[in-house]
C-alpha cells in the first residue's frame, strides 16, 4: 500500500476528494478519517502523521520549534533553523528529531525563541553558537541547557517550560493558541489542531441565521476598538437587500505598539480565513478582501500561502465541501495610512480611492465596497470565530464578564519587565496584567499610569489599577480597550509629554478632510508643545479643554472623535502636572528637557572630572583647582553627568 507523505494526501484510492469533486466530510476526515470506508491501514497512516504534526507528550519523536515571526526572524531565527538542521543531521538524529518554523509567541524581547517538543522546554535569546549545545545536551543528553532558560526578573527563578514562565502562566490563549506551535505555512498543521472544523460544522450543520444566532449568543464583540457586537453586525449585513455582498478583514493594524493582528496573521493565518469563511456563509457573501498594511510583508506572504493552500484543498472556490457555497478571498495591501483602519476609508482604499472616511449612514452593512452590503471585522475578531464553532457559544461565553465575553489580546509595553502579547479573559484587572504577567515596573521604579487603547485611548492612574479590563468599564474611566495597546508608564514619564506624543501621531495621521480634526488637533498639539517647552500660558488648559470638546463633538470619523482622549484623560487624572509646567515651569517627572537645569554642588564635588569627561557636548569645565561648572546655555540636558557622578554632586532641578 502506498503510504501518505502528508496529511493532505488521499489515504488510498477510495478517497475521491478534489476541489472539483468535493467530499462533504473532507475536513473531519483529516483528523478522524477515513470516514467513507473502514480500513485500519488508512487509519494508522493518518494517526501516524497527526502524531508527527502535534509532537504531543509520549511522542517518539521530538520537534525543535523556532519562532519565525517578524521579531525573532529579525534576530536571525531563520538562520538558526539551517544550523540546527545541519547539526541534527551531523548527530544522526534526523529520523527522530525535526525542526519546525512557527509563528510568534508574543514575547519578542526574549527572541529568538526556541521550544523543544514534546517536553515544551523554553529557550530564549538563542544564538547560533548555542545550537550545538542544545543538540548535544538536550536532544541527545536529555538535559536542559540551563543558561538558555527564561529567568523571571522578579523572582530570579528559571522557567523550565513554556507554561511555567510567569508571563504565560496567567494567560489564557484561545486566539493565540496555535501561534508559536504550528507551522503557519502548512495547512495540515492547522488541520491537526482541528482547523476548519468550526467552518465545516457551521456550513453543514447550521443555517446562516443559526450561525448568526450562535455568534450573538457567544457575546463576541469587535476587537478592533469600538466593541460593536459581532453577531448583530453580521445580522444587519445579512438583512441588507442585495444579491452581491462582501466580507472585509481589517488587517490595517496601526496603533503604536500594537502587533497582535500581525502575530495572528503570521502565526495562524488559517484561523483568520476560517473566521472569514464562517462570516461569508452567514451573511451570504461570495468574495472577501483582507486589507493588510504593506508594512507587514511576512503577514501578506503567509496569507498568500494560506489562501493558495485553502484553494488547493477546495476550502476556497466553488461548491465548497459539496455545499453549493462559493467563496474567494483576495488581499489588498494598504499604503500606510493609519486612517484606513476606519472602515469607510478602508473601503475607499480598496476601491482605489484616497483613504478618507465617509459619512455614515449609509453603513457598510447597507452600502459598502462597490456600493454593496459589506461586513467588516478585524483580524482578531475573525480568528475568535472558529473557536466559537468548534467549542460552542456557551463555552466561549464562559470567559470574560457579563458584557465583554471571551479573551482579548493586549500588547503590553513600556516601563514593564515583561513586554509582549498577552491574551487574557476579559475582566482581568490591570494590576494582574501589569504586575503578575508583566512582572512589574522596570528597574524597580514606581508605577505612574497605564495608557490603554492607543492614540484614541486614555491614561489611567494607580488608583484605577484594580479596574476590570472590559469594554464598558474602560470607557467609563476615560480610556478604551481600543485595539489593545497597554503602555505602562513609570514615575519618570511626563504625562503632558505623553499627551503630546499621541496627539502628534493623530495629527499626522488625520486624513485632513474635516476641519476640527485637521486644524483643531494641530492647535492642540502646538499648545502641548508650548507647555512642555516651558512656555505654557495660564489660559492654555482652558483652551485645550475647549478645543478637545469641539474636536470630539464635531469631527467626522472615529479618529477625530477620539483624538483628544489622551489629552482629556491626562487632564482628568494628572492636571497637576500641566499646572506645574505652566505655573512653576517645572516638569514633575523631570522628563521635559526644556524645564530642567543641571548644576554641580561644589561641596559634594570631589573634582574627579568624570562628568566633564563624559559630557557629550563638553559644556562642563573645571580642574583640580577650579570647581566644575555646567554651562547652562550649551547643556543639552541629557543627564549623563548626573548618571556618571559617584558623589551625587550633580543636581537636577
Amino acid at each position: 500500500m502506498k503510504t501518505m507523505k502528508t496529511l493532505l494526501d488521499p489515504c488510498c484510492g477510495r478517497c475521491t476528494h478534489t476541489p472539483e469533486t468535493p467530499c462533504r466530510d473532507y475536513v473531519r476526515c483529516q483528523t478522524e478519517g477515513p470516514l467513507c470506508h473502514d480500513d485500519p491501514a488508512c487509519r494508522m497512516e493518518r494517526e501516524r502523521l497527526l502524531r508527527e504534526l502535534k509532537t504531543e507528550v509520549g511522542s517518539q519523536k521530538q520537534a525543535v520549534l523556532f519562532c519565525t515571526g517578524t521579531g525573532c526572524a529579525s534576530s536571525g531565527s531563520n538562520k538558526l533553523i539551517e544550523i540546527m538542521d545541519a547539526e541534527i543531521k551531523k548527530a544522526g538524529l534526523d529520523v527522530s528529531v525535526s525542526t519546525r518554523p512557527t509563528g510568534c509567541h508574543g514575547f519578542c524581547e526574549q527572541g529568538p525563541i526556541v521550544i523543544i517538543e514534546p517536553a515544551k522546554t523554553f529557550y530564549t535569546r538563542v544564538k547560533a553558537e548555542d545550537i550545538p549545545e542544545i543538540v548535544a545536551k538536550d536532544l541527545v543528553g536529555g538535559e536542559r541547557v540551563e543558561h538558555l532558560l527564561y529567568v523571571d526578573p522578579t523572582t530570579g527563578q528559571a522557567a523550565t517550560t513554556y507554561a511555567n514562565a510567569p508571563f504565560y502562566a496567567k494567560q489564557h490563549r484561545i486566539v493565540l493558541h496555535n501561534c508559536g506551535h504550528i507551522n503557519p505555512e502548512r495547512i495540515e498543521d492547522y488541520f491537526a489542531q482541528d482547523g476548519y472544523r468550526g467552518f465545516a460544522h457551521a456550513l453543514q450543520d447550521m443555517k446562516p441565521d443559526e450561525v448568526i444566532e450562535e455568534v450573538k449568543r457567544s457575546g463576541l464583540r469587535g476587537r478592533g476598538g469600538a466593541g460593536f457586537p459581532t453577531g448583530l453586525k453580521w445580522g444587519l449585513c445579512r438583512q441588507s437587500a442585495g444579491d452581491k455582498k462582501y466580507i472585509i478583514c481589517n488587517a490595517d493594524e496601526g496603533d503604536p505598539g500594537a502587533f497582535m493582528d500581525r502575530s495572528v496573521l503570521e502565526g495562524d493565518p488559517h484561523s483568520v480565513l476560517e473566521g472569514m469563511m464562517i462570516a461569508a456563509y452567514a451573511i451570504g457573501a461570495d468574495e472577501g478582501y483582507i486589507y493588510c498594511r504593506a508594512e507587514y510583508p511576512l503577514a501578506i506572504k503567509r496569507l498568500e500561502i494560506a489562501i493558495k493552500q485553502a484553494e488547493e484543498v477546495g476550502l476556497l472556490g466553488d461548491n465548497i465541501l459539496a455545499s453549493g457555497f462559493n467563496f474567494r478571498i483576495y488581499i489588498k495591501a494598504g499604503a500606510g495610512a493609519f486612517v484606513c483602519g476606519e472602515e469607510t476609508a478602508l473601503i475607499a482604499s480598496i476601491e482605489g480611492k484616497r483613504g478618507m472616511p465617509k459619512v455614515r449612514p449609509p453603513f457598510p452593512a447597507q452600502q459598502g465596497l462597490w456600493g454593496k452590503p459589506t461586513n467588516n471585522n478585524n483580524v482578531e475578531t475573525y480568528s475568535n470565530v472558529p473557536h466559537i464553532f468548534r467549542h460552542g457559544a456557551d463555552w466561549y461565553a464562559g470567559f470574560g464578564t457579563e458584557k465583554s465575553k471571551g479573551t482579548k489580546i493586549f500588547a503590553l509595553t513600556g516601563k514593564v519587565n515583561n513586554t509582549g502579547l498577552v491574551e487574557v479573559p476579559m475582566g482581568m484587572s490591570l494590576r494582574e496584567i501589569i504586575f503578575d504577567i508583566g512582572g512589574g515596573i522596570l528597574g524597580g521604579k514606581k508605577f505612574k499610569a497605564v495608557q490603554i487603547g492607543g492614540p484614541s485611548g486614555g491614561c489611567l492612574p494607580e488608583s484605577l489599577l484594580d479596574l476590570p479590563v472590559d469594554y464598558d468599564t474602560l470607557v467609563q474611566a476615560g480610556a478604551m480597550v481600543g485595539s489593545g495597546g497597554l503602555v505602562v508608564l513609570d514615575e519618570t514619564t511626563c504625562m503632558v509629554d505623553i499627551a503630546r506624543y499621541f496627539l502628534n501621531f493623530t495629527q499626522k495621521e488625520s486624513c485632513g478632510k474635516c476641519t476640527p480634526c485637521r486644524e483643531g488637533t494641530k492647535r492642540m498639539l502646538e499648545i502641548l508643545v508650548r507647555i512642555t517647552n516651558g512656555e505654557g500660558k495660564e489660559e492654555d488648559i482652558e483652551t485645550l479643554e475647549k478645543l478637545a470638546g469641539v474636536v470630539k463633538s464635531t469631527s467626522l470619523c472615529g479618529l477625530g472623535q477620539t483624538a483628544p482622549n489622551p489629552v482629556l484623560a491626562t487632564l482628568k487624572y494628572f492636571r497637576h502636572e500641566y499646572e506645574a509646567h505652566i505655573r512653576d515651569k517645572q516638569c514633575p517627572a523631570h522628563a521635559c528637557s526644556a524645564l530642567l537645569t543641571y548644576t554641580i554642588d561644589e561641596e559634594k564635588c570631589k573634582k574627579c572630572g568624570l562628568c566633564a569627561k563624559n559630557c557629550p557636548v563638553k559644556c562642563i569645565t573645571g580642574d583640580k583647582n577650579t570647581p566644575y561648572r555646567i554651562d547652562a546655555s550649551a547643556c543639552i540636558k541629557c543627564g549623563t553627568c548626573m548618571e556618571k557622578c559617584k558623589f551625587g554632586a550633580v543636581v537636577r532641578a
Partner: protein, 353 residues
C-alpha cells in the same frame, strides 16, 4: 410622497421623506452656515460648519448629511452649536491669510461672511503655524492660492462630478493636506482644460479668475446675463461689467442650458471684446494688402464673385462648409442659401466625420 414632521428651533415644519436637515432648514428660511455644501455636488460633510443639535444624538451632527426623521427635534442656534461653529471658523481663519483688502474674493467670500457673523477676528491661535505654499500662476486663466484654501473639496467634486475630469484631489495628510492636480503639478502641466468649474464653486479666494484680478470689486460690478457667442450650445453666463467695460465672466447658476458649467472659451475668452486686435470692419485684400471696407462693399464683392463662379463653372462648383457649433438657425440658413440661391446641394459641416 411621504411627509415628515419635525421641530426646528421650536417651529414645526413638514418636509418630504429623504430631505436632509439642512434642506429642511433652508426650505423654511432657517439659516445654516455652510462652506463645503453645494446642492449640485455630493454632500461630504467635511467643513462641519452646518452642525446642529439634535435630541437623542451624541455629538453635534452636520445637518448637510443628516436625514430628517419623523419627530426629530433640531436646534440650530444653541450656545453649544454657535460656540462650536465659532471655534471651527477660528481654526480656519488661523490658517488663512488675512490679506482681505487685496483679495479678489472680498465681498463674495463665504469665510469672511461667516467670520463677520460669528465675530471671528483672527486673534485665536495667533502665532501658530500657517501654510506657506507656492501660488500657482502657471496659466493665463486661473490663479490658485493654496494658502487661502479651506479644503472644502468643492473644486474636487465639481471637476469630477460636473466636468468629469477628475484633475483635482486631496494630497498629503493632517495639517499638510492640500488640494491640487496629481504630483502637485501646476494647472498648466496637469490635465486641466481650464473650464473653470473649480473657480465657480470656490467659496474663498483660493481659486479666482486671473483676468479679473484688480479689475473690480463685486459691488462695483454690474452682472449682465447673456448668451455665449462662441458656439451654438447656447450657454448663458454673466458678463461682469464695470464702468461700461467687460472685466470678466462668472457663472450664472440660473443659466437654463448649462447651469454653472462653461468651457474655457466662454469663461475666459471674453477678453476679445476689448482687444485691440479685434476686427471691427470687414477687410478686402487690395494689391496684396487687407484694406478696411464697409459691410455693403464686402457683401457686394462676395455676391459678385459667387455669381461669377456660378456663371462660369456652374452651381455645383460651389460648396459650403459650416460648423456644428453654429446655431441650428444659422445652419438652416446656410443650407437654404446654398440650395435656393446658389442652386447646389454641396453642403457639409465640420463634425460630420
Amino acid at each position: 410622497m411621504e411627509w415628515l414632521t419635525l421641530t426646528i428651533d421650536g417651529r414645526t415644519v413638514s418636509v418630504p421623506k429623504g430631505t436632509t436637515v439642512l434642506q429642511a432648514c433652508r426650505m423654511n428660511n432657517i439659516p445654516i452656515p455652510t462652506l463645503c455644501h453645494d446642492p449640485e455636488l455630493t454632500a461630504t460633510g467635511s467643513c462641519r460648519l452646518c452642525i446642529v443639535d439634535i435630541e437623542g444624538m451624541r455629538n453635534l451632527p452636520p445637518s448637510c448629511v443628516t436625514q430628517a426623521t419623523q419627530g426629530m427635534v433640531v436646534r440650530t442656534q444653541t450656545e453649544k452649536v454657535r460656540d462650536a461653529r465659532k471655534t471651527i471658523l477660528e481654526l480656519l481663519v488661523a490658517n488663512h491669510p488675512l490679506d482681505c483688502m487685496t483679495c479678489q474674493k472680498m465681498g463674495s467670500c463665504d469665510l469672511a461672511k461667516y467670520a463677520y457673523e460669528y465675530q471671528v477676528t483672527g486673534e485665536a491661535f495667533a502665532g501658530g503655524e500657517r501654510r506657506h505654499l507656492p501660488i500657482d500662476d502657471s496659466n493665463p486663466f486661473i490663479l490658485r492660492d493654496p494658502n487661502k484654501c479651506i479644503l472644502c473639496g468643492k473644486c474636487i467634486r465639481a471637476c469630477e462630478e460636473v466636468q468629469g475630469r477628475g484633475v483635482l484631489d486631496f494630497s498629503h495628510r493632517g495639517f499638510n493636506t492640500q488640494v491640487g492636480p496629481a504630483f502637485d503639478l501646476p494647472y498648466a502641466e496637469s490635465e486641466c482644460v481650464f473650464c473653470g468649474s473649480c473657480v465657480s464653486v470656490c467659496p474663498v479666494g483660493a481659486l479666482t479668475e486671473k483676468q479679473m484680478a484688480g479689475q473690480g470689486r463685486p459691488w462695483e460690478v454690474k452682472k449682465v446675463q447673456t448668451t455665449c457667442p462662441f458656439c451654438g450650445t447656447g450657454c448663458n453666463f454673466d458678463l461682469n461689467v464695470k464702468d461700461g467695460k467687460v472685466i470678466g465672466v462668472t457663472s450664472n447658476p440660473e443659466a437654463p442650458v448649462n447651469g454653472r458649467a462653461l468651457c474655457v472659451k466662454g469663461r475666459f475668452g471674453m477678453d476679445m471684446i476689448h482687444s485691440p486686435n479685434r476686427l471691427t470692419t470687414p477687410l478686402i485684400k487690395k494689391d496684396g494688402e487687407f484694406v478696411e471696407a464697409s459691410w455693403d462693399e464686402a457683401l457686394s464683392l462676395v455676391a459678385e464673385k459667387l455669381g461669377e463662379i456660378k456663371a462660369q463653372y456652374g452651381a455645383d462648383s460651389i460648396a459650403a462648409l459650416s460648423s456644428a457649433r453654429c446655431t441650428n438657425e444659422e445652419n438652416y440658413l446656410m443650407q437654404k442659401f446654398m440650395r435656393a440661391v446658389i442652386g447646389s446641394n454641396n453642403v457639409d459641416h465640420c463634425a460630420r466625420t
